[in-house]
């Protein structure tokens, strides 16, 4: 299990298989970094295969595959193996590029194509060399000039009128051309090297990035881009608080609309989703901008996305004439169409807690009572509250702002209100004065993105080259034939990939050669060529 083992293709394939297996697990099983709620539900046995299976899955790290030590180990092994395999390949490639020359073939096979021309051999050879050069063949020219004995012998046997002496001063030029040798292997190397660029971009990206989320209520003061103002704050290890620009974002208005006709196609889908914001830069410059679903606002490389939204009712709580709570409450949409939130008033004794459900469109029915529709537009909002008293345990238990910890609270009943209404329940007055909306913004700084794009470009360029640069060789032999005063060019080709495509290309090359040297193709001796045979087979 040493270096050699690492460089084996089988090892790489095995690792790819393990990577695929882990990815399959990550596809099928909820991942904690994505959907922590679902993972908790699985662990609690409320969803999924049951808590026992979930506990086993948890033990092997299946809920966070890409954060598990096994994955890190695999990644390390993959890159070690990649390195082990690439070093010799790159070395060999450099040698290939610097030294290798296409081999000269002195005796072309019998089915080589023959072209006759009246131009002299030296001119023909030069013209053909230039032609191959402009077609990007790497060339090697051999002008040793002497026909080989075998060549002479065959010629004598075939063409009795010519003496050996007469042929010995004939000019013979051998050309060899090669294509695709560097590029195919080079493309493959580039493709694999791009993984290092991508990996580096991902690792450094993790360290330098920053992502924060914050909800803002329409018309209310927004937030400043500082360490402390985000609700959720995820800086990379190398991102410090001093890196924040410090601008201020205020939400002037939030526009949302839906297809309201229940019979129209796509009924209920949102059609508009836009925030009008005002940005105040640290130097006092102000400007307005809008943020839409697919158009984040970019300030100095920091992107502001509009991610979430909800209704924000203004709720006041009065106990024995004292105002103990007055605030906008950010409520969050749930599947049944209700927007849920909570009001927590520790200023009262004992504490007051309200669980709130806002149904934005609840018109009155024939009986005068509101009907809940679940539609999201706020044409007839109705706020339902459940009142609790006791100990909110603020600061002592982990709590979401949208939920109460009801362990030490006693229920006191419920009520419902329209905007402007107030309800009294057990000496507590609850007031619902105004309804606004809030928007959840995500602010992110990701310096790795240009590098990821660069790595992706390398990857694609390398892949296309590795798959579609075909290795080909051609050999030509240019010789003068003193008996006729003509020059004969013999051409032979070989394809290492896609031979059937090469037969077409080869035919085209022959045609082009005939044109440039003003020659005629003669397929006398050995008869038909490979290209022609292919044509015959196809017809």
């Amino acid at each position: 299990m040493g270096w050699r083992w690492l460089t084996r293709m089988k090892t790489a394939l095995g690792m790819l298989a393990v990577l695929a297996l882990m990815t399959a697990v990550a596809t099928a099983i909820p991942q904690a970094p994505n959907v922590p709620g679902t993972v908790d539900a699985w662990l609690a046995g409320e969803q999924g295969p049951g808590s026992a299976v979930a506990a086993a899955l948890h033990a092997i790290g299946a809920f966070d595959v890409y954060g598990s030590p096994a994955f890190l180990a695999l990644l390390l092994a993959l890159f070690l193996s990649l390195t082990a395999c690439l070093i010799p390949r790159i070395k060999a490639w450099v040698i290939l590029v610097r030294r290798s020359r296409p081999p000269i073939m002195r005796e072309l096979p019998h089915d080589a194509v023959r072209i006759h021309t009246r131009q002299d051999a030296a001119t023909t050879a030069n013209v053909l060399r230039d032609l191959l050069g402009t077609r990007r063949w790497r060339l090697r020219v051999d002008q040793s000039g002497q026909p080989t004995p075998a060549d002479v012998a065959s010629r004598v046997a075939g063409d009795t009128g010519v003496s050996i002496e007469a042929r010995s001063d004939a000019l013979v030029v051998n050309l060899a051309g090669e294509k695709g040798l560097w590029s195919r292997e080079g493309g493959s190397i580039l493709f694999h090297l791009s993984f290092y660029v991508l990996l580096a971009a991902i690792v450094f990206g993790q360290l330098l990035t920053f992502e924060g989320q914050r909800g803002v209520i329409e018309g209310e003061p927004g937030f400043a881009d500082t360490e402390v103002s985000y609700w959720a704050y995820r800086p990379g290890r190398w991102f410090s608080g001093a890196d924040h620009a410090g601008w201020q974002l205020d939400l002037d208005a939030f526009h949302i609309d839906w297809i309201r006709d229940p019979h129209a196609p796509g009924a209920g889908q949102p059609t508009k989703f836009r925030s009008d914001v005002t940005i105040t830069m640290p130097d006092g410059d102000m400007f307005v901008a809008d943020v839409e679903g697919n158009r984040p606002l970019v300030i100095d490389g920091v992107k502001i996305h509009q991610l979430d939204w909800g209704y924000a009712p203004w709720v006041e709580i009065e106990v024995d004439g004292d105002l103990v709570y007055a605030s906008f409450i950010t409520t969050v949409a749930s599947d049944d169409g209700a927007f849920r939130g909570a009001a927590k008033a520790p200023a009262a004794t004992p504490d007051v807690g309200l669980e709130l459900e806002l149904f934005p469109f609840s018109p009155d029915g024939d009986d005068g009572l509101p009907r809940l529709t679940g539609a999201p537009w706020d044409d007839a909002p109705l706020l339902i509250f459940h009142q609790w008293r006791g100990d909110l345990q603020l600061g002592r238990t982990q709590q979401l702002i949208t939920e109460l910890d009801t362990n030490l609270l006693e229920p006191e009943g419920f009520g419902f209100m329209r905007p402007g209404d107030e309800v009294e329940l057990n000496g507590v007055v609850v007031r619902f004065t105004e309804l606004r909306r809030w928007v959840g913004f995500q602010v992110s700084y990701r310096p790795q993105i240009p590098w990821l794009l660069f790595g992706s470009a390398l990857l694609i360029a390398g892949l296309v080259t590795a798959l579609y640069a075909y290795r080909r060789r051609v050999w030509m032999r240019v010789e003068s034939d003193p008996s006729t005063g003509r020059t004969i060019v013999s051409v032979y080709g070989r394809a290492f990939q896609r031979p059937e495509k090469f037969e077409v290309d080869f035919g085209a090359l022959i045609d082009e050669m005939c044109q440039t040297v003003d020659g005629v193709r003669s397929d006398s001796a050995a008869g038909i060529t490979a290209a022609e045979r292919a044509k015959e087979g196809a017809s």
Binding site: V35, T38, P265, H305, L452
Partner: protein, 404 residues
Amino acid sequence: MTQIQLAEWSRVLYSPTTILLYFAAAFVYLYALTTTVGRVKDRVRGRRAQQAAGVVTVLGLTAHIAHEIFRGLAQDRLPLGNMFEVTSLMALVGVGAGVGYLQFVRKRPELNGFVLLAGGLLVAFAGLMYAEPGPLMPILDTWWRPFHVSLLVAAMGIFAAGFVFHGLYLLSERAEQVRLVMTESSAGAATTTATATVSGAIVAPQVRIPRDAARDATTAAGTPGEPDAPTIADPSVRSAMRQATSPFKLGIGMFLGTATVSWVFIVAGDTTAVGVGRFLGINIAMVAAALIAWWFTPFLPSAQTLDGLAHRTIAFAFVMWTVGTIAGAMWAEQSWGRFWGWDPKETGAFLTWVVYAGYLHGRATRGVRGRLAAWIGIGAFVVLMGTYLIANYVIVGLHSYAGL
């Protein structure tokens, strides 16, 4: 026309028009294929049938394209917004590219029947997920989306073609083995020298060629090949080539293989009955397609041709998949503010990529050839379809549009 009328037209153009035209063209093409071994009169009829099938194919493609255009007009957006639209377009690309390639590049129009059969199945399969035209959520409305989705859809269609080629390869390869044995034994009846030449040829790769050559000889000149070389003009040879694969095993294998993916429909159906109905419908259709292909075993191109086709098809789709996945990451960064979040769809796309990369690696190093390559290619397609359906139907709801 009003949008409602447009929507109605687009529905009719799709089902039944496109579905029926594809299947009709497929069956006429396949009929034409069987006449290539018949008498002269049959062959003339076959050639006419092939021309007729070409016309039906063009009609089918026209109906399909018209459906896409009408649907686009009815909802005022590109029809690439949901599973139905994506699968339908995948079928359109697959049929158009497949027929175009066979007809104009390879000049083997007699094979169009297989492409159309696969296309008809895919179109019918998409019909199971039919959704009325409607507008797109604003979040889905960006330039990256059609770019990303169409690339991945086209890649899926081409991967599907690679899967079909690999499946046909397995049929063809077994049949060739049988023919080789028959060649050997018929040559064995001749002189010893003849046996030596023939068995000498068996190890060389060219042995695959005689079958095509023999067929070309019979089709071109109208005479059977050499009397002692088994040609497919001989019904007993055809039957023996078919019997190389057991139709029962093939049918059961296809049923079970399809079930590894189609179980998703049982889980995702509104009711168990609907789910089981779809599951059985898909499985039976796949088994039927496999049996039709099985019957056509003697008429298939050589195993070598199919193997090469499959490899090149998959390599091409792999490039598209790579670009399409990267485009998807760009879209996610644009819309959600994160370029990669390992959600099931992203993970599934990555899994498909890794599996097909494994396939290409295996082939590139000469270790994996022929049957093994075919099985890996088929397995990779199962992974592709599985992740596509699971990520869309089983794990829905986890990744709806909600950020905080």
